[in-house]
Structures are given as C-alpha cells and as structure tokens.
Symmetry: C2
C-alpha cells in the first residue's frame, strides 16, 4: 500500500475499504487489517476520520515537514522538581522489559566477532534495519552502506562538521533560533555560523548569503515549531544543486507529528545533497546515546574515517539491541504510544493556557513535545523563568536559543514530555501561575 501511494497508483483522497471488508477479501483477521491501517496512519500514508472512513492522505510529491532537540538545563534548572525543558522525552515510559528482551535475543544471535572491533559505520544489522525504517516512516532514501551509526546525533553533527571543514567549508547557515548544543558542534569544528531568519514557512533558506552549507530542522523547526514549507524545501534543494553545497537535516523528532499532514524528510528530495541526521534520543531515550547519519555517497568514507578517529565505532551491543527492537516492531509501538501521550499532554497544555492565561499565545504545537508560549510584551522573559523556578518549575526563555541577537518578544520554550504523568498537571498549573503573576517587586 505504501508503494501504491508513493507511486501514485493510490491517489490522495482515495477511500479505502472498511477493515472488515478488506479482512474478508484477504482472508486475514480484522485486527490485522486494523493494525496495518493504524501503522500506515501513524506514518502519515493514511488519514482516518470518524464518519468518513480511511483515506489515502493527500500529499504534494514527497514534500512534507519536521520537529525539536536536546536542552542541557542549567545546573540550577536541574535541581528543580518540575522539568519543563525542551528536548527531553518521557524517559519514565522507556520500555525496559522489551529493551532487555531485545538485548537478550540480539546477544543470543550475535556472532562472537560482533563483540570485537568493528566497522566504523556501525553494525550491519542496525544499518539494514534503519535503512528500511527510515524509508518507511520518514521517506528517507538510503542504502545501509550510506549510514554511519553514532553515539547520538550530536556526535554525528560534530563529525560531519569536521569533514566539511576539512573539505574547505568555512561557513554554515543555521536557524536564528537553534539548539546551542548543535551550534557548539558546528563552531567547535571551526565553521562560522551564519543565521537564517525563521518565519511561518520555516527557515528562510535564501537568507544564508554566501554560506557554504546549511543546517536545518525541516520537520519541526527547533525551537519555534514551523515546518519548512514545500516552496522553501524546493528552494533549499535548488540552492544546494546550484552551489554544490550540502544541507544537514536534523530530524530530531520526525516521528512525532500530531496535527498536520505527514511531513517527510527533506533528504528524500535530494539524497545527493542532504545529510540526514536522526536519533533514538527523542523516540526512545537520550541515555542510549544512539544516533545515525544518512550520507551522500561521496562523503561516506570521510565521515566513517572521522568516526573511527573519534572512537573507532559505537558500542555493538546496543546497536544489535536497537536493530532487534526495530525489527520486532517494538520501536514503532513505543513511538505510537509516546505520540498519543504527548498529544494528550499538548492538549492539556493548550487548554490550561486558554483557561488561565488566555493572553498567552501557544505555537509550535503541531509536532514533537515542546511548544512556544509568547508572553505579554511587558513581561521580561528571564523574570518569568525566575518566577517559574521560584515555583520549582524549570523552563527556558526563548532567548536561550537565540544564536545571535534575541530579536523577538518575550517567550518561553516549554517541553511537556518529561514530567512523569502524575506530576504533569501540577507542573502546568505552577507554570501558568508563574506567567500570570505580576513581577516581584525589585
């Protein structure tokens, strides 16, 4: 069915048979069909609506959209009880028993040499599983040979930046608001960051001036939230083709789309010009330190060599475990569950703000697990952060993510995934109180 949608045989809007009808046609259990529909809907290929059945999602030829990234909270913020920092998934939901079962199975099946020194690109088992997964869920076009497994996408970006620098790249366009860890990776390698402005269509890819490369979060701009529009995508790809430059696509939370139509990877439009960076940190747990790069063929060897020089290769046991976890479907199931939970949390956040502080506008909520709350213009961002901290709530101001000048009005970036479920409502209430309360007297 994916192939039929991709190739156009099943046109957007086509209504699919009811699950019971298709199950009877195929001679399988109805539950099987329902499960397949649910998975395809999660991936964005199908859209279900009560009363109108299941239809093929209308997409514009492979042009879809992206989501946010890790925040290292300040030492201060870490000690607070209610953590509302962007980039932190709900690790209390980590499927420990299933992960251990995958580890057991993977280790039982692994040849001894899997425990020795290995390919700097990572284990073949995982690269095969990732190539299939990324093609299916994110539309990424990759062969396992083009994948380099890293200890998180931070390392991936650091290695890519280093290779670009060695190849003569000196400047890179980055979004005017970005994750500081990414900017550190880029600038540590000796690249100069040039800022790209961001609007409702995502990064203004034409504003990079003479940058030799670009770093984008197309599916869900971090932290502001817009999707890179189809026009901007086309423009970015044309720029890369014209100049021979490479675009790094940071697809940190690409699986977590709540509202809009599916947003595929930019990489699918121009695999020869886009370096795709993904991670298990948002979908599963940051503590795993597992990420991956999908690279244009001409730079695979250089990046593998940089990986080898950095740490030879990523640990094999977790790689084999993740491969088994993906293959068994446990990864898809965990993401589906997480997405439902994050959507519920997001809805609760939107409702709480609408009820208690209607003057505060919440944006960037179509995907992922963070949102941006624009404060009344007379509020000071840092004072609001301080009032939240006084209520034991850790949250960041938008200014913490400004690469250059913080040119926008006061706003908070709210990560809503990390408080445990039982503490979430309290965390929201305290945050609303902090925003609503008048600034403390000097």
């Amino acid at each position: 069915m994916r192939e039929a949608v991709r190739s156009g045989r099943l046109a957007g809007g086509t209504r699919l048979p009811a699950t019971r009808v298709l199950a009877a046609d195929l001679g399988v259990a109805r539950g099987t069909v329902a499960e397949a529909y649910a998975q395809l809907a999660q991936e964005g290929w199908l859209t279900s609506r009560v009363g109108s059945g299941t239809r093929v999602t209308a997409t514009e030829a492979a042009v879809m959209v992206p989501p946010p990234k890790l925040r290292l909270p300040s030492a201060h913020g870490r000690r607070l009880r209610y953590q509302l920092l962007a980039g932190y998934p709900d690790v209390s939901a980590f499927p420990r028993a299933r992960w251990l079962a995958a580890a057991r199975k993977a280790l039982a099946a692994a040849p001894s040499q899997a425990l020795g020194y290995g390919d700097p690109r990572g284990r073949g088992e995982l690269r095969v599983a990732l190539a299939a997964y990324l093609a299916r869920v994110r539309g990424v076009r990759a062969s396992p040979d083009q994948i380099v497994v890293c200890t998180g996408s931070t390392q991936g970006l650091a290695l890519v930046s280093q290779v670009l620098r060695e190849r003569g790249v000196t400047s890179i366009g980055v979004e005017e608001y970005s994750h500081p860890v990414l900017i550190r990776a880029v600038t540590s390698a000796g690249l100069t960051a040039l800022t790209l402005s961001v609007d409702d269509d995502g990064a203004a890819v034409g504003s990079a001036g003479d940058a030799d490369a670009m770093l984008l979060t197309p599916a869900h701009q971090f932290p502001l939230g817009p999707v890179l529009s189809p026009q901007r995508r086309a423009e970015a790809v044309r720029w890369a083709a014209r100049t021979g430059a490479l675009i790094i696509e940071d697809d940190y939370d690409g699986e977590f789309r709540h509202d809009r139509r599916p947003v595929g990877a930019l990489q699918a439009l121009a695999p020869e010009h886009v370096i795709y960076a993904g991670t298990a940190s948002k979908a599963l747990a940051p503590g795993l330190r597992l990420g991956w790069l999908v690279l244009p063929e001409p730079i695979v060897e250089a990046v593998a060599e940089a990986k080898s020089a950095a740490d030879l290769h990523t640990g094999s046991l977790e790689q084999l475990t993740l491969a088994e976890f993906i293959r068994s479907g446990a990864y898809d199931r965990h993401i589906r569950r997480s997405r439902l939970d994050y959507r519920r949390r997001r809805d609760e956040l939107v409702e709480a703000f609408a009820r208690y502080i209607p003057a505060v506008h919440v944006t960037g909520i179509a995907a992922g697990f963070h949102a941006v709350a624009t404060l009344p213009p007379d509020q000071d961002e840092q004072e609001a952060v301080g009032r939240a901290a006084a209520r034991d709530v850790a949250v960041e101001g938008l200014g913490s993510y400004a690469i250059g000048h913080h040119s926008r009005g006061p706003a908070l970036v709210i990560g809503y995934a990390s408080p445990p479920g039982h503490a979430y409502t309290t965390a929201l209430t305290r945050l609303c109180e902090a925003i609503a309360s008048p600034p403390a007297p000097p």
Copy 2:
C-alpha cells in the same frame, strides 16, 4: 590485608597462615579464604608457591609495572581464517549470560533519569565502581569525581590530546613502536609526536627532548613488551614535576600479568602528573566501547567539556551494566579465567616455537596476550607476513608499529588471544611453518 600490605604492616615475604588455619581462626569456610587468597594473588599482593605456601609479595614501594593495545587489521588480514593480531582478546569467551544478568539487575535498579541526558563524565555508579576497582587492582589513586567514562580509550586519548593542545601543548613523546590508532588520536588533535626509544627497561623517558607531554604504556610496552623499570618511572615522574608536563599512561592490559611481580600503575606515583587511561576492550570485549580516564583534578573540567562537545556522554545502560558487573565480582572472575587461558596459550606458543623454530626468539611474554618473535636477520618481515597469509594466518610485522623508522631487525607481533580455543594449535602450527619455510621464489 591489602591495606596491611600497602601500609607495610605486612612486610614483603611474610608467610601467611594456611587457608584451613585462617578459616578456623576467622570462623569462615576454607573455600572463602582460598578464594580471597586467589584474588589477592591475582592482584599481585600475594604469591603462592607449591611447598612454601602463600607469602606477601615483595614490592618496592608502589613501584610496579604495565601491558598492550588494539590493532585494526588490514582489510586483507580480516578475511583470513586464523587471526593472530595483537590487541584482540578472546571475544568468544565473553560472559554473555552474566552480562545480561548484570544488565537486567542494573536496569531494574536505575532511576528513570538515568535514561535521560547525563553527566558528561559518566554515571556515578560506574565511576564509584571504577575508583574502587582501579585502586584495588592497579593501585590507581582516584576519586570518582576525577574519572571520565569514554567510549573506549581511543576516544579518551583523543579528548585528552585535544585538551592538551588547547592548553598550549604542541609536542608529545611517544614510544618508538606504538599502536597506530593511538598515534592517530594524538596527531589528529594537532600534536607532534616525538619518538622515545624503547629498551629492556621500557621507554627511555629522558629521550623525549623538549616534548611537552608523554604517552607511555608503562605496564607492558606495546608492542615490544618490557615493563617500565622503577628507575625510569621515577625519572618520568621527576621530569613531569620539574616541567609541569603531564604523562598519559595507557594501561590497556594492566590486569594480565603472567610472570613477574605485580606491576602497578605509574599514576600511583604521581596522581597530579599522570592521566591514567583504562579500557574494558582487553579485559572484556572491544565491542562494548567502554574506557575511562583518571585525571589530575585541574583538567577534569576541560576534559568533561570536550567529552560533552564530542558526544554529550557515553551510553548509560552499558555504564550501569558494567558498574553492576564490577560490583558483583563478575569482572574479576572473568579476568581471572581469561588470564589463565592466555597464560596457557602463551606457554603453548613458546613451546611450539622452541620445538619447531628454535632460532626464533620470543619476547614480551610476561604479560598480556601478544608476543614479539624476532626472525632470523636474513628474513624479510613482510615476506613472512605474506607466507603466513598464504596459510590463512593474519599476523603483523613489527614495522607496522614503527612510528618513525623501523630500526630493528625483522620481527612479527603475534596476538595469541583471538583464535577460538579449538583453532589455536592449528593457527600456531601454520604460523611456525610460515616462518620456517624458505621465501617463495620471485
């Protein structure tokens, strides 16, 4: 008992009570005492000899000695059936079931936040376990706060080199024969490698000229095999104290001492001048990618920052698993078993050479799991490597480890740990044939 030996209360040569006597005195099982004696003997504190009982080992005030490191075989060598490359432990003996049991226990005990982003130095559980283990087994003086867990000691060395470079170090003394991966880590960071000659007392630490730092393998020079002598140790430490320079001690196989008296870490002599680098790659499995640095307090923060920039931190689940593995005693037991096996293999190698090719002298056999075989002077090293390859045996010439000019006579570096037990005798026989057979006609 360790404390008593360390403090001198139990002098070297002191005869200990027989196990049955001490067991009766203490009211414990005789097996418990025997187990304790065996562990202390493994660590080098005690020496057992048939007929003379168990005695406290005579040591010269904390001056002991070290062991070898990873070899990335050529693409060619990798395909051969019998792998006799230095730096590869016997991964077929990896204790899979015990490792999984430790993973299960560790994951059950871990708080949720252990799955999130963490301290760049690594998990506290592992740093505490390592500090105790390294003090006990290697005499290393460290608090958990000074330890940075890395994805292997290659990364550790790369990070340290980077920090040294940032602090103005431009040159580093390295042993004239070393592992190429270490030299790559050092030079990639922008340091110039100056070679130190190596003799039977280890590296000639006075020959570094104006080097700003030194990289040594004191316990077991890699690949030649000598221990750094007490005089050289004292000289190295005096040099560091006089110049304010730092010494990096690569203790890659410090646990695998076969013959001599225990060889402690150089770090114990001057913790403020020595960076100690250890790894689980030799003791357990390279595929784990787990290593650690013990750092002088003034550079801990800079190295932790470099680690954070490189990949934030090492994966938490394996760290927790290794912590549990060490704490439970499984790490000690695995090392004890491996050491017995390696010693048996070494003895078989020495006997095979003595029987079949008595003209070939084997050295560097007091520790670890590799040896150096000096070929007759009319043999060409690379031809011998080629003849071995023709017999499906992968082995390296000493020249592969020469940092500068290969100034010594022809020799082979033989790693004897990696063939599975059942294939080992065949591998040795084929290697002896290759060395003994005349060069093929041109």
